[in-house]
């Protein structure tokens, strides 16, 4: 590890400026509670057009993840955060590839499979 000679950290001062504030955490909690309540409302009650429900749930979940990243994990557009945001972008890319790629392959595989009934007959 490099010696701590950086001009932007004074000697003896290691306090992390990105620990946020009480207001930030409370706002994050408020948003998260609202979005969670929204998810349960959309998912559990029959108030919404059923085919649209999964999309609505996905939107609410992604919004809540954003709230957690900003208010709890303190991801920001600040200078110290550029690397964190870039790493997150790469992580999101890999997660997207893994999930959508698996689903894409498996859906096609299922479509090309023999129907279960025919497979059962072949076993006899």
């Amino acid at each position: 590890m490099m010696p701590e000679k950086s001009p932007d950290s004074a000697p003896g001062k290691q306090r992390d400026q990105s620990s946020g504030s009480l207001g930030g955490y409370t706002a994050g909690l408020g948003f998260a509670l609202l979005l969670t309540a929204g998810s349960f409302l959309v998912g559990k009650t029959g108030l919404f057009w059923p085919p649209g429900v999964p999309v609505g749930l996905a939107v609410l979940a992604i919004a809540q993840m954003g709230v957690h990243l900003v208010f709890f994990l303190h991801l920001s557009t600040g200078k110290d955060n550029t690397n964190n945001v870039l790493a997150l972008a790469f992580g999101v890319l890999i997660v997207g590839l893994v999930v959508s790629g698996s689903l894409w392959i498996m859906v096609h595989l299922n479509a090309n499979m023999m129907p279960a009934a025919a497979a059962m007959e072949m076993r006899h």
Binding site: E4, M65, A87, V99
Partner: protein, 217 residues
Amino acid sequence: MNTAATNGELLGMPARDTPQEASGPSAKGPAPVEIVVAYGFWIFLLSDIIMFSALFASYAVLSGDTAGGPAGSDLFNLKHVAIETLCLLFSSYSCGLGALAIDRRHLSAFYLCSAVTFVLGATFLGLEITEFAGMVAQGAGPTRSAFLSAFFALVGLHGVHVSIGLSWLVFMVGQVGAQGPRDYVLRRLHCFSLFWHALDIIWIALLTLVYLVGARS
């Protein structure tokens, strides 16, 4: 990695640690240790999330393959899940308040927040274990169907993470008690908060994909 080369410096020459006049984030010399540590831990968290994404993908593929056994809508109790969600959310909040308290060197407030975080996390874990035990008792254990194997692997791995987080929290509280709020203790605590908040993000995905979507179909 962050030492800057001034304009006149040739490539390959050792960079100096003194403040320099070049502009840009890396021109001021090496980044502070707490930023480097948090960045490294952030990379770990992202790789952990990528590991979870593989299990999410297999759950999404296998969620319909119940092999004639119970489906999600027969098993999941959304009230139970709502309480679990609230436990995790409020434990994230109290974990954040604990980070603020230790930054201001309010040790008693830090201990109180950590205790609340621990109790809420343990409540979550207790509810999850109860849920799992109930499912196994109904004959819906991980060996029943591909859907249940994927379910137990995915939700169980999150539960394992929560238990690791709880032991880490106990360890950190002990370290603050034994050694005081020293710099390296504060860095570890910062990593712990990152871990605890990241678990919440994974739970949001679990709640949505496994429970809310699963309880419908």
